[in-house]
């Protein structure tokens, strides 16, 4: 339990004043602008939007600045802000097939229509520190080629044509929303995907890696990974029709996994699915692997007891704000709790000493 402790007001005020000073750092160094964070630390901005569960690059940049670059603290700020917003409604489901792709690769089909488009990737860089970046100046210039006008077809569409991959059925139901109702088990796939996409990248990555190392191994290929922007459409009640209300950058990963078939389904490939705000490649691949591992029950696969198959374990521990809140609360004053523990240990020690003495006599 906690007790109200009075008397810390001035210490707290001064601590916050010092925090502001430390946040600013050396005043001889130019202050960061939100534009600089948004444009030059865009992958941090993307992570804060994905796990903060709110797409707004300027707000995410502000949160990163306020949090001194602590991304989980920044995500906390965004989550707190999000709760103050009235909900205007929900969009039509995104059509990722219409995505304007910056990047689109497949590990399964070399000659996929639309081709392998690498985009602005870290892949194939040598991971050597580039000291040229330490010196200021210079405007890099990317080469251009004839742009593709038509949308990129989804790779899994080709497998679907032959019936080789399980069809994704549309239940037509409004999805449950864990920001509106508490997470309850069993969770259906839409609810699991909502939880995974806002889950901690490190946790989801670790879970996904565990499946690759043999804990509920499911033999995933990256059928397709695409990054780009999609228009967001919403039905406006006062207008009576849907309009585009903006566009978001997304990363989508579809894994293609072996499936030996069941009583009702022939042997075919199945999918793991990852969809994340922003350019978040590692997260979306990890999400797809964990999604596929969690589908064992509906696909009639064995429960190997692996952590990645346990939806209660995965979904209850993937939220870094819940985890941080519970973890860090133990640093707050627990004086009375501890006082009673102290009394107990002293009493036990006294009793132990007495019985020890009596035994010796």
């Amino acid at each position: 339990m906690y007790v109200a402790v009075k008397g810390g007001e001035r210490a707290i005020e001064n601590a916050h004043a010092w925090l502001a000073e430390e946040r600013r750092g050396d005043p001889g160094v130019a202050e960061l602008s939100l534009g600089q964070i948004r444009e030059q630390l865009s992958l941090a901005v993307n992570r804060v939007m994905a796990e903060g569960s709110l797409y707004d690059p300027d707000l995410a940049a502000l949160a990163i600045k306020q949090a001194r670059g602590d991304l989980i603290e920044a995500i906390f700020l965004i989550r707190a802000y999000r709760t103050t917003l009235p909900r205007f409604g929900a969009t039509e489901p995104l059509d990722t097939g219409e995505m304007a792709c910056d990047r689109r690769i497949s590990a399964t089909f070399k000659d996929a229509p639309g081709g392998q488009v690498l985009g602005p990737t870290f892949d194939y860089t040598h991971r050597l520190l580039d000291f040229k970046l330490a010196a200021e100046g210079g405007e890099p210039n990317a080469p251009q080629a004839e742009p593709r006008e038509a949308p990129m077809p989804h790779i899994t569409g080709f497998l679907q044509g032959e019936g080789l991959i399980q069809q994704e059925a549309d239940s037509g139901a409004a999805p449950r929303d864990l920001t509106r109702e508490p997470l309850e088990f069993p969770a259906d796939r839409p609810l699991r995907l909502q939880s995974l996409t806002r889950g901690d990248e490190g946790f989801i990555l670790g879970m996904a890696y565990s499946t690759q190392r043999g804990y509920a191994r499911n033999h995933a290929f990256v059928g397709e990974l695409r990054i780009g922007t999609c228009a967001v459409e919403m039905e406006i009640p006062e207008l009576g029709f849907a309009i585009e209300i903006g566009e978001v950058e997304l990363t989508e990963c579809e894994t293609v996994n072996q499936f030996t078939g069941s009583k009702t389904e022939p042997p075919q490939f199945t999918r793991g699915y990852g969809l994340v705000f922003g350019q978040s490649e590692r997260k979306s691949i990890a999400m797809a692997l964990v999604d596929r591992a969690l589908r064992w029950k509906e696909l009639g696969e064995d429960d190997t007891g692996a952590p990645a198959q346990d939806e209660e374990f995965v979904l209850s521990h993937s939220d870094n704000i819940q985890a941080t809140g519970f973890l860090e609360h133990i640093k707050l004053p627990h004086y009375v709790d501890f006082q009673s523990e102290l009394e107990l240990v002293r009493k036990l020690r006294r009793e132990a000493q007495v019985s020890h003495r009596e035994a010796a006599e």
Partner: protein, 156 residues
Amino acid sequence: MTKRSETPDSATAARRAWMGLLARAPEGELMALWEKVAGRPAFDWLRPPETGGVMVRGRTGGTGSAFNLGEMTVTRCALALRDGTVGHGYVQGRSRAKAEAAALIDAMMQTEAADDLRRTVLEPLERHMAEARSTRAAKAAATKVDFFTMVRGEDT
């Protein structure tokens, strides 16, 4: 779940197009063009600008059931010109000024000012945005792996 509206008539299609353009437009570009528009009409608020969240949905496996991906910020407002024409603004982000401009343009596009406005605001905006999109697509195209060249090389 909401349903896509029936095949809209051409007036609705045109309105959808300009509202979508205004929603997606970079604020700086829209405001720069809007500020140059002379003769902006007086209006009354039906709903002053307010910022809220909209839940963006995706589909399982890209094509299956809907799921909640996360929210985005949207600012909306509604106004009426003195002749009663109603304009709606629904724009991405938190800018009240942008929402107001979008709603006024939406209203004016239903009046005689439409042709002028289309020429001075919507068309330049559309051109800029198409150019930006095309430049990105051109950069993406330059990173396309050309496996075929290697195969041809082995043939000769």
